[in-house]
Symmetry: C2
Subunit: 215 residues, 2 copies
Amino acid sequence: MTTESAKHDRPRPRRADGERTRRAILSAAAALATVDGLEGLSIGNLATATGISKSGLYAHFGSKLELQLATVEEAERVLAEEVVQPALAAQPGLGQLAAACEAFFSYVERRVFPGGCFFAATSLEMGARPGPVKDRLARVQSEFTALLRSFATTALEQHELSAHEDPDQLAFELHAILLGADTKFVLYDDPAVMVLARQVIHQRLGLDKASDASA
Amino acid sequence: MTTESAKHDRPRPRRADGERTRRAILSAAAALATVDGLEGLSIGNLATATGISKSGLYAHFGSKLELQLATVEEAERVLAEEVVQPALAAQPGLGQLAAACEAFFSYVERRVFPGGCFFAATSLEMGARPGPVKDRLARVQSEFTALLRSFATTALEQHELSAHEDPDQLAFELHAILLGADTKFVLYDDPAVMVLARQVIHQRLGLDKASDASA
DNA sequence: GTAGAGTTAGCACGATCGGTCGTACTAAGT
DNA sequence: ACTTAGTACGACCGATCGTGCTAACTCTAC
């Protein structure tokens, strides 16, 4: 049935030039969304920012909803690249926990997105707006928390953390601290926020004492 | 000079009915802003929600900016009533810290604003939008953090907390946990979030052990 | 009770919103 | 080379945006 019209399961190949502009559009869209929000991201603004006509945009995305979903997907890619991969590359367990936090701080500080963390900025905005975009954002947050929890579990197994730590609680705390740091950093535009946030993380993970022991 | 046109320093009294509608408008505006954002809060929507014509709104607020500022002010009033006052009424020190967190959780859970905490929702939105509204939101956040810090300092003086706790760090952590709980609660719409958040707070403040000692 | 100021509605403006249509160019598959 | 389809454009749609202007209505002070 379904194999009839799709010979190679890829009946509609994309052109190379279209792929490039699509990337450029999504990159600009993700950046704009952290400033104007996913809802405030207007087709006109995005067209002006990219130098493409509105109807040109609609050749790539049939509706604003599709554009929003594709933008979230692009932001997921960036987050994976900027935060998740550096974390996974670190020493399993406590090292990954610390690396994840540090990568996040760096990702916010370097203004990878002008409005701070994409998901912090958009999750609260879409929280009260049910729909596929919110669902997707919720999934990303869940996955990130799950990642932190898995790191915590490994750290516990390796006795790098106090035995009466709860992975769920710790993941919740760390995630909250990352979000809080992002919020304050964006709001105050003050590097001191990150200094304090790093102190909190180090103390929470007991890295100050562990650092000389691991060397 | 200035006393010439102002006989009793209150030359423009407000009418009672106007004051009522103004309150009603601001109440609806604050609620709407937690869903649509302060920028997405449109005059037309607000007029429809309150049953007042758009031009009627403009008799109270000369511009959208003024409306936004007045809305933030209204939200400050609600926060003071719902969170700050219950906290201040508690036992000075650790009790106030716990009461502030609990009052915040309750304020979010009871959906005082449909989109969760007003300031969590709007601060991130306006973070990348410089202007008087952002400044005001930043001030509120600073004041709240300062409040938590003062509680922590008192608690330290009363030896209710470990001596090597830093009030700044603790205030930062607690504030972050409150924001994180709000974010996840709104995003997942799951009461379990608050259960976990309360556990984290209790553990962080060492309330589990202290509770039977204080009884 | 009359005056005047606070209050509200009606109407309309330019701009922008998300979205559609027809068209032209061009990179691929044959 | 010829066709096909992805790509991009300009013009345009109805709706809504924020914001004025004017004219009623109504409470309140004299």
